[in-house]
């Protein structure tokens, strides 16, 4: 208990670091993921190819390698002004976007063809079909997988701690270097992660129940 009380400021920084890192990369991943999913289902071949390439490359690359790319190559090719936090958000967001894209795409594909055909036959426009028929149904199937992805993102964000971002893993390393009891530190850090992941899964379960439709 002393470990936690004595270093509460560090734990708090780490906790909120992980929260904000997860939140920021989640926003980036969701926006990019939906965009790339739109590319992948579009009737435009080059965009489809780009989407496929994006997903294949990012899904088969270890996240640690992406962090190295963000650290050494992004500053050279884009701009040198980014902080390690922003680079971590880029790496995490891009990586997770590939998985979000696949979840969204399979969500759209689960909507039965008849739904869209019926909508078209009563004269709805493309936007109407998307807004009123397809997306509401797709959203409901997408919620559960996206929830799991957000939990995975929280866990993946720990890697950022090794690339000079302040979050829970960097707190664990910092305290371990001070010679405190390693197992005790581990237990508190583990507890902090459990709190975040349980909160996320609770949130998504709530969302799922809210949107559930009796069929």
């Amino acid at each position: 208990m002393n470990v936690l009380v004595d270093n509460f400021a560090l734990f708090r920084q780490g906790f909120f670091g992980t929260l904000s890192l997860t939140g920021a990369s989640a926003v980036l991943a969701l926006l990019l993921g939906v965009l790339i999913a739109a590319f992948r289902v579009s009737p435009v071949p080059p965009l489809r190819a780009f989407g496929t390439l994006w997903v294949t490359l990012l899904r088969n690359t270890p996240l640690t390698l992406l962090f190295l790319v963000a650290t050494f190559i992004v500053p050279e090719v884009l701009t040198t002004g980014l902080s390690s936090y922003q680079l971590a958000v880029l790496a995490l967001g891009f990586y997770t976007s590939a998985f979000v894209c696949e979840a969204v795409r399979s969500g759209v594909n689960t909507v039965p063809l008849g739904q869209a055909e019926a909508a078209r036959s009563i004269g709805m426009t493309f936007t109407q079909i998307l807004r009123l028929i397809i997306l509401p149904q797709a959203a409901r199937t997408v919620i559960a997988p996206v929830g799991s992805l957000m939990i995975a993102l929280t866990k993946n964000s720990a890697i950022a701690g090794a690339f000079s971002v302040t979050e829970l893993f960097s707190t664990q390393k910092l305290l371990s270097d001070q010679g405190l009891n390693l197992t005790v530190i581990f237990i508190w850090i583990a507890l902090a992660y459990l709190i975040i992941t349980f909160a996320i899964s609770g949130l998504f379960r709530l969302l799922e129940n809210r949107l559930a439709v009796a069929r």
């Binding site: 690359t61 190295l68 090719v77 992805l149 995975a152 459990l194």
Partner: protein, 283 residues
């Protein structure tokens, strides 16, 4: 692009519009590519001397050693995690409540933690990097695979085990001769996708200085300055390609297995939604 939920078969005007989008999209993507290539070129990344290091036998040997070290950690972690998963899954499906509770607690705990936190603890306390990595990967992936196994067993229709019990088979017999063979067939693609995750996660060895592929690459790039420039781009490109090739090879095995299972006369029972959600979690 004939029957899609999103689009009808395109008419003449839509076809024209799509053609315009195709041209515009191609130009935009080509522009992006040219922009990146020019930025890299302006930093001299395409100069031949930046790529010279790959010609040295020593460097090639280092990269090969890195691949071998990665595969070694992966192979051990894969075998151990599948063994552990069998134990955990058997525990969670046990008829004895204390066993069930203990197994569930272990699985949920290891699954909920970031892998690197566990690996770091193992490394900082007693283990050398290699074993810290292997044990960490085993605990995490073993728990995830246990959930896949369990979902697979649960996806076998109930009538199967009921019929077996009615024939007078015992618990172990039902499990080994009826449930497991069917479950494995249903879950093999998911098991292999999780193995791909295991392979990717061996790169966490980089963070505890285990000399696997990524670590080798980082050291290689950091130690061979060429005219004041470090060849990070070149090395990461080569190493990234190796990783992607290895993962895609494993994924190809998964696809092949899936196709084979579908082709077999008995057919594969469809994976349950629960099982699919699990695979998504694993990623």
């Amino acid at each position: 692009m004939t029957a899609s939920v999103l689009y009808d078969a395109p008419g003449p005007r839509t076809r024209l519009r799509n053609r315009i989008y195709t041209v515009v999209g191609s130009l935009a993507l080509a522009g992006l590519l040219v922009f990146f290539a020019m930025r890299l070129n302006s930093k001299g990344e395409f100069k031949s001397y930046m790529w010279d290091l790959f010609q040295y036998a020593g460097v090639q040997q280092q990269i090969t050693d890195g691949v071998v070290a990665t595969l070694k950690a992966f192979a051990l972690a894969a075998v151990f995690s599948l063994l552990l998963a069998t134990v955990f899954a058997a525990g969670r499906l046990s008829d004895h409540k204390p066993v069930r509770i203990a197994a569930s607690a272990a699985v949920e705990f290891f699954r909920a933690l970031p892998l690197i936190i566990m690996i770091y603890l193992l490394w900082a306390t007693v283990f050398e990097p290699f074993w810290a990595l292997v044990i960490g990967l085993t605990l995490y992936n073993g728990s995830v695979q246990a959930e896949i196994f369990r979902a697979g067993i649960n996806s076998v229709p109930k009538g199967q085990s009921e019929a077996a019990y009615a024939l007078g088979m015992r618990k172990t017999q039902v499990m080994l001769t009826i449930l497991v063979p069917q479950a494995v067939r249903a879950m093999l693609p998911s098991i292999i996708s999780q193995l791909v995750v295991t392979l990717k996660d061996t790169s966490l060895g980089y963070l505890i200085a285990y000399t696997e592929l990524l670590y080798v690459g980082r050291i290689l790039a950091g130690n061979t300055p060429t005219l004041g420039n470090y060849p990070y781009f070149q090395v990461l490109l080569v190493i990234g390609t190796i990783y992607i090739a290895m993962c895609m090879l494993l994924s190809a095995v998964a696809t092949w297995v899936e196709k084979r299972a579908r082709r077999s006369p008995k057919g594969a029972p469809p994976a349950t939604p629960e099982a699919e959600a699990l695979v998504a979690t694993a990623e």
